[in-house]
Amino acid sequence: MNVLERFAAGEVEAFEPLFRQHQREVYVWIVRIVRDPAAAEDLTLEAFWRLYQKRDRLDPGANCAAWLRRVATNLAIDHLRRFKPTVLLAAEPAGPNQTDSVELQEGRAAIRNAVNGLSPKLRAVVQLVLIENEPYAAVAESLGISLSAVKLRVFRATRILRKKLKEAGVWP
């Protein structure tokens, strides 16, 4: 009997190993979409809380990782709807860098603004497909849509971004 089967059978103690098994994966997935570590932590807990509340109706044969990823993606998109990004990750070039020209810094800021101006659904796809290089199939599964729908969203987002970057003088 695996951990999910034990948990679905009513063994509440099995929730901890289940949580520890998937927490990192869920957190990383969310932080890739929202790019805010504190928010990603809260949303990770929310995703697992939903799993915990659903324990009586869980299908023991279900793919727990896929289910969690789907819930995590929906929560992350809801978060993007509610909050405009204000926090930059440590990896993001936030402040002026001695080696970067002003033009380069302005270009990066324009790109970030263009991405932030996309609708949450398009932003999530841009983050996952174009920035994080996630396979289309994984993104489609996490969003609960078809592969062609993901491609269409990428196409639409690309067109909008190109237009915005052209206006900002970043796109040739």
Binding site: E41, L45, A91, E92, R108, A109, T158
Partner: protein, 82 residues
């Protein structure tokens, strides 16, 4: 065919620009263990705060009540549809 190749090239160029401005997070792990927070949440007593009702639900209720007051003949029709 040429348009497709150009489109792919444009997407790749855009990908590079995006990754330069918003570096990929990749699989950077969080060293934190969230289990203690999860445990606190599980142990919290259930909240007694009533669920928030959106304003348009109240507006709809108001309109329905006003309609029933002004046109009592609608009551049988409403009951039929319930």
């Amino acid at each position: 065919m040429n348009a497709e190749i150009k489109n792919d090239r444009d997407t790749e160029q855009l990908r590079k620009l995006l990754q330069d401005a918003l570096p990929p997070i990749g699989s950077t792990p969080s060293s934190r263990d969230f289990w203690p927070r999860m445990l606190r949440r599980i142990d919290e007593p259930p909240s007694c705060i009533p669920p928030r009702v959106p304003w348009f639900d109240w507006a709809l209720l108001g309109v329905a009540a006003a309609a029933l007051l002004l046109f009592p003949a609608l009551i049988p029709a409403l009951l039929y549809h319930l």
